[in-house]
Subunit: 137 residues, 2 copies
C-alpha cells in the first residue's frame, strides 16, 4: 500500500465522481468519527487505539479501526507500532497534512457553535458536548 491517496478516492477521481476539489476535501473527513479523531489528535501529541476507543462514544472497534485506516492512507494521521515489556503498542498522531486541515475543522466548530446558540439547543445536547474539548463551560 504505497498509494498516496486512498484507492477509493482515486477511483472516484478518475470516475469523475468528484465535481470539484472541495468534494475531495470533504471526503477526507466525511466518515462518521473522523472529525472527532482529527480533533482529538490535534490537541495531544499522540494517542493509543484504546484511548481513542474509550474517548469516542458508541464507536465500535471495527469502525474505529476502519476510520483510522482510512485516515492513515489519506496521510492525515500516522500509525506507529512499537514494543514495551513484551507488549505490542500502537500510537496514532497527526501528520503535517492532517494539521493543515485543522483550521478548516476549527471553522466548522465555530460555525456550528454560532448556529446552535442562535437556536437554543436543548440541554441534553449541551451536556453531551460538555465531554468534548470546549473551553467554555
Amino acid at each position: 500500500m504505497t498509494d498516496p491517496i486512498r484507492q477509493t478516492v482515486l477511483k472516484k477521481l478518475t470516475n469523475g465522481d468528484f465535481n470539484c476539489e472541495k468534494e475531495f476535501t470533504l471526503s477526507m473527513f466525511s466518515g462518521k468519527y473522523k472529525l472527532v479523531i482529527l480533533w482529538e489528535l490535534g490537541h495531544v501529541s499522540e494517542m493509543h487505539f484504546n484511548e481513542l476507543y474509550r474517548l469516542i462514544d458508541h464507536v465500535t472497534k471495527k469502525v474505529l479501526a476502519n476510520q483510522l485506516r482510512e485516515l492513515v492512507s489519506d496521510q492525515l494521521i500516522k500509525r506507529t507500532a512499537y514494543e514495551r515489556n513484551n507488549q505490542k503498542l500502537v500510537i496514532y498522531q497527526m501528520t503535517e497534512i492532517g494539521e493543515s486541515l485543522l483550521p478548516i475543522i476549527d471553522q466548522m466548530y465555530e460555525w456550528g457553535k454560532q448556529r446552535l446558540n442562535a437556536y437554543q439547543i436543548p440541554a441534553a445536547f449541551k451536556l453531551d458536548v460538555a465531554g468534548d474539548i470546549s473551553k467554555d463551560a
Copy 2:
C-alpha cells in the same frame, strides 16, 4: 414546517448522535451534491431548478429536489415560486446563513486544490474540473 433545523438533524442532536458542533456543520453540506449547489448559488444571484439540474452532472431530479429541500429546511438557501405568462417558475438563492458558510467551502476548495496538485492528478480529472467555476485555466 416551521422547524428552524431539519428534522433528521434535530433528531440526531437530541439523540446525541453529534459528538460536537463540527459534526453539526458537517451535516449541513454532507449530501452528495450540496457543496456544488452552494458553490454555484454562491456565484450567481439566483437559479432555476432546471438550471441546476443541467449544471450538475449525473444528478437525478429526485435527488436534486431532495438536496434542495434539505438545504432549504436548514435555511442555507431559499426557494421562491412565482408565475410568468401562465408559467410556474421557481428560483433558488442563498440566504445569509448559507453565505456565512462560503468561506469554509472556499477553504475546502483551496485545500483540495493544493493537495491534488501535489499528486499530479490525471488529466481526466482536470478536464472534468475545467467545467467548474475555477478562475485559473
